[in-house]
């Protein structure tokens, strides 16, 4: 019984914490000059923030994946990324 409850608690802990982190602070908006409150502006700020955060990472990720695919096409096999360091070092 206790084990089930504990498992339930550990399973719920993550989503609950995430919800607390994401939602609860919304109650704390105490900006005297923001008469707008809940306008589209706030939603757009959050939306564009997420967009602008993700975009550079997606662009670089896309280029890296494209180059990797191209490397595979040009050189046949993908160059092992560690081959340079793991060549046997001969001791002179």
């Amino acid at each position: 019984m206790g084990a089930v409850r504990r498992r339930l608690r550990t399973r719920l802990a993550g989503p609950l914490l995430a919800a607390a982190v994401l939602v609860a602070p919304g109650r704390a908006l105490a900006c005297a000059v923001c008469a707008a409150g809940e306008t589209n502006n706030r939603a757009e700020f959050i939306l564009t923030t997420a967009f602008m955060t993700a975009l550079p990472l997606l662009l670089v990720g896309g280029v890296v994946l494209y180059l990797r695919a191209r490397a595979r096409r040009v050189h046949g096999a993908p160059p092992s990324p560690t081959s340079a360091l793991e060549e046997p070092r001969r001791v002179a």
Binding site: L22, G26, F45, T49, T53, L57, A84, V91
Partner: protein
Amino acid sequence: MAETVPSHPPAPEEGHPHHEEMSFWSKYIFPLDHKMIGMQYLFTGIAMAMVGGFFAYTFRMQLAFPGIEVPGWGLVSPADYNALVTNHGAIMIFWVAMPVLIAAFGNFLIPLMIGCDDMVFPRINRLSYQIFFLSVLVLIASFLVEGGAFGGAWTAYPPLSAKAEYSLTPLGSSLWLLAVALEFVAFLLGGINFITTAMNSRAPGMKMYDIPIVVWMIVLASIMFMLSVGPLVAGAVMLFFDQQLGTGFFDPARGGDPVLWQHLFWFFGHPEVYVVLLPAMGIVAEIITVFARKKLFAYKTVLYTAFGTGILSFTVWAHHQFVAGIDPRMAHIFTITTLLISVPIAEMCFVYIATLYGGSIRLTTPMLWALAFIAEFLIGGVTGIFLGASGADIYFHDSYFVLAHFHYTFFPIAIIGFYAGITYWFPKMFGRMLDDRLGKIHFWGTIIPFNGIFLPLFILGLAGQHRRIYNYEHFPELATPELQALRVLATVSLLVMLGFQLVFLVNFVRSLRRGEKAPQNPWKANTLEWQAPSPPPHGNFATLPTVYRGPYEYSVPGRAEDYWPQNAPE
């Protein structure tokens, strides 16, 4: 400035039978050679550092001794004060840290360290410096126009920056913005060159993990710069339109949004911190391995933490807006990401310390600078954690605590990182050795006063002292003799530190002319630039090198020498 490029001894001719004799103009003023373009950036950066340092001296004198006739400037008016702090910040970041750390070292080092003869786009490289030089001229012009130089802080928040009624600098603020935008274009061109060169022109045999860390870091910094600068250019165009064409992008009375600028600015501004940090970290990595005579501890870890830093750096910018009325849910997320980004940076510091462990450490001047970088940067990093927490930031925001924090990060990056790099690569750049004794005097004369400047400012910030105040005499709780004594301590430390910079200048100029001739590889280092003559001739290598191993094979057991150049077949 380009005109101040000193004439160093002619490049050794041996191994370069086809070296062309070039006129003074095509060699020093409009060069295509990556080394000479790097020198142009270096000397322009040093000249701008003197300007920025002079500004700091002027406004610190005003803060310590309000109303004094500052020698060399005169009476500092409130408008002067604003213009001085604004341009001190802008110059030190955009015209010192960027050109010296990325453009000067990047231009000089990348082709040499990856073993090729020049950048892939030499003409774009020259254009990059010319645009940069133009931006310097525009910035200087902003001081000479009607109304004076821009004084709305280096972050240029509207509405202060957008309307001449508020800023009182109708032309100065636009010229300032134009200078910043030109500077971005210059570095965009430079960055494209760096990335393309490092990808396509590496010496045969140089695989991804054989690239020296500093090259990786400059390339990563260039990628981050390229991806973050667009939104700020967009914002700069909008702000320029607001200033000169009467639009209302940032004017709430006309449907605009002033907080928008803060987002556009810091979307670039925060990655920018890492754009200048990574090259400095790379310089330190090179120096530490060479003078610990030990393989870099965990090369791949450094690389992956740098990737991680690059990724995270795009997710932290809104921590600058915690008090600007942003959504608290956003503030929460940005607190978490901000605290997270200290992890990879701390990891890099640990890796460097682990590299030192068990090494045979040689405390040469560059090594002292590299060690000081780690120590001082750690203080800056740790104090950043208080500011990254959105709750604590509400108290600390815009106080001298913030100011001291970022000077503890930017001073190590821009100044200590520069001195570490210049004392290490000076023999390669100019073919002469720097004087080690003067170098050490200069080191201690810089590091001790540096802490004397900024440690008191932490205390002042905790006491509630705001930034950007011209005279604290009108704040009864801040005008106490104890706090004034701390201000005087900071200013006196600054004077001492600036005085010791003369030692460096003397050392630099004297070594250029009369320094001991530098051998090809004075530090017995592995990386390819030390396998070229000192200074490298036009075209760099007599025969382009082939790479057989990674850059950090020091003290390999069983070898007679404790280093193993990357291009040595056996």
